[in-house]
Amino acid sequence: MHPSASNRADASTSIPKDSTSVIDAAIARLGSLKGALLPILHDIHEQLGYVPPAAVARIAQGLNLSQAEVHGVISFYHDFRTSPPGRHVIKLCRAEACQAMGSKHLEAHLTAQLGIGMNDTTADGSVTVEPVYCLGNCALAPSLLIDGKVIGRVTKRRLDQLLDGCRNQGAGA
């Protein structure tokens, strides 16, 4: 599942996951892999929607790395959030093929509708919007990813429908 795909699962359960046990379980299960740090971070991110600050020390200890190294990796990669996202995550493609099909107008519409900027979450916690640079759906541009699902040929109308779905807490798409 895509990192943001888990948000749908999170939305349907009201019991917050115990992040410490998620972190420890990820280290226990994946720690022996070669190059284990990314798989562990992905696992935590998929389950919690972000990598909590508390994870840094635990992973560092588990993998015998310095905290600076773990922090350095988390901050290097665009995918890893360090605070919880909204219940739904929309990643709008900003790359060239989508620009050729008007993605800039879509981005303006999206942020105007929600009243937030990119990389931001609405005050009611329903939606987080983030940029993404190509989803490999460039022949059916413009494209976005909502809760891990790719949508192509996105129009303003389609975007509004998706946003309505998010606000009504229904399934993301």
Partner: protein, 511 residues
Amino acid sequence: MTTTIYVPRDSAALSVGADDVAALLAQHAKAQQLEVRIVRNGSHGMLWLEPLVEVATAQGRIAYGPVTPADLPALFAANFLQGGAHPLRLGKTKEIPYFAQQTRLTFARCGITDPLCTDDYVAHGGLAGLQKALLQKPAEIVAVLVQSGLRGRGGAGFPAGIKWRTVLGAPADQKYIACNADEGDSGTFSDRMLIEGDPYMLLEGMTIAGLAVGATEGYIYLRSEYPDARTVLSEAITRARAKGWLGNNVLGSGKQFEVFLRIGAGSYICGEETAMLESLEGKRGMVRPKPPLPAIAGLFGKPTVINNVMTLAAVPCILAQGGDHYASFGVGRSKGTLPFQLAGNIKHGGLVEVPLGITLRALLYDFGGGTITGRPIRAVQVGGPLGAYLPASKFDLPLDYEAFAAAGFMVGHGGIVVFDDSVDMQAMARYAMEFCAIESCGKCTPCRIGSTRGVEVIDKIARGHRREQNVQLLRDLCDTLANASLCAMGGLTPMPVLSALDYFPEDFTKN
């Protein structure tokens, strides 16, 4: 009698509702007590026709598309399960000109089979290359690859056989095959389509590479932006292991090869091969200086073959049909086929696998049908975000590595992004600099700082502030980037910027 219906599971098809179509199709059929078997195939690559639904009839597979859930009642009424007439009927799939005019070597099976069905794979020629490779010595396999003339499809076009030979000759207790499935270039999706539509071919190609160089482990670095590809690929690896296609005893040969899947984390620079190695090792994706070559000291410090998905996926066909067969396609030193990808503002967007040497014009108009907006094509970016923007005067250039390089462009991964006359090339040049600033690994100053400076300078030009001086400054900045960057991220960002300046100067003189 059960009718077989194909509804693609390719993510492009899913992005325009293929799952809904498949679900409703099943419901309708059930309600009408018609027996159907719905196969979720890969895509044939005619993406503007997705969801492209096919029905297996006595005459062959008949295509309908693009099908929406709302079309289904009428399709059933038109007896489409027997291939009945309907406005969406496209005829036999394999006779649709866009498809019929291609040379499908790498994408021979994609769209035709159920991607995860191992029986389908074998029934359609799968494993033939691996079986041949198992009868050959490593040096013989490498020789076939050299003879094929296959060049790296990830961007740089380095001869694959030569790279393999280096790794074969490097003594080590452990070697690796690293498959670059980061596919970061905008306008490209061939790696994704192959992984979603024919994943065993990639695994077979990697296994052959392992046999050729003496590597027993392969890693696939797949971008996180491809959730559907991830699902298919991890399932394919599981099934291939269960079948004995991977593991300790590949096809009963006693040879060993394992494949592990790793997911990227949204970083473009991690497609650069040494940054990818760092990322696979669990580190920040910082570019490594070369030497040492990854072929000598690559993943975990061991000799490593790094190849793009398209490179590795071409290998089974080359082994099965011979290096000379593959080399009989293409022009000059650009041998074989390249799966081009038509994207952006294009009427018939999709995947076009043809021999190298085709002109851009043929792709844009004969296959692509011009823009979807119906306006003239003004600029075409070839080869991803580091590729040049070509004006219409360059559309007759043949797409081969040498011809493109001689003209100052690059073929890259074969992505072709089309813009109509509403494009603002100054904005696209700005975007190229901005993208470099966002994605720079930060190791060298020209790339890290220069790209941000580039954005500022273009903004000044846009405001009309000391325009001539700032255009000159922009060119100087590009010079520095091109000459003083450690890798092609900084080194090639000038290509889109300067091509915009050179071929579309009028966009830099208006406010």
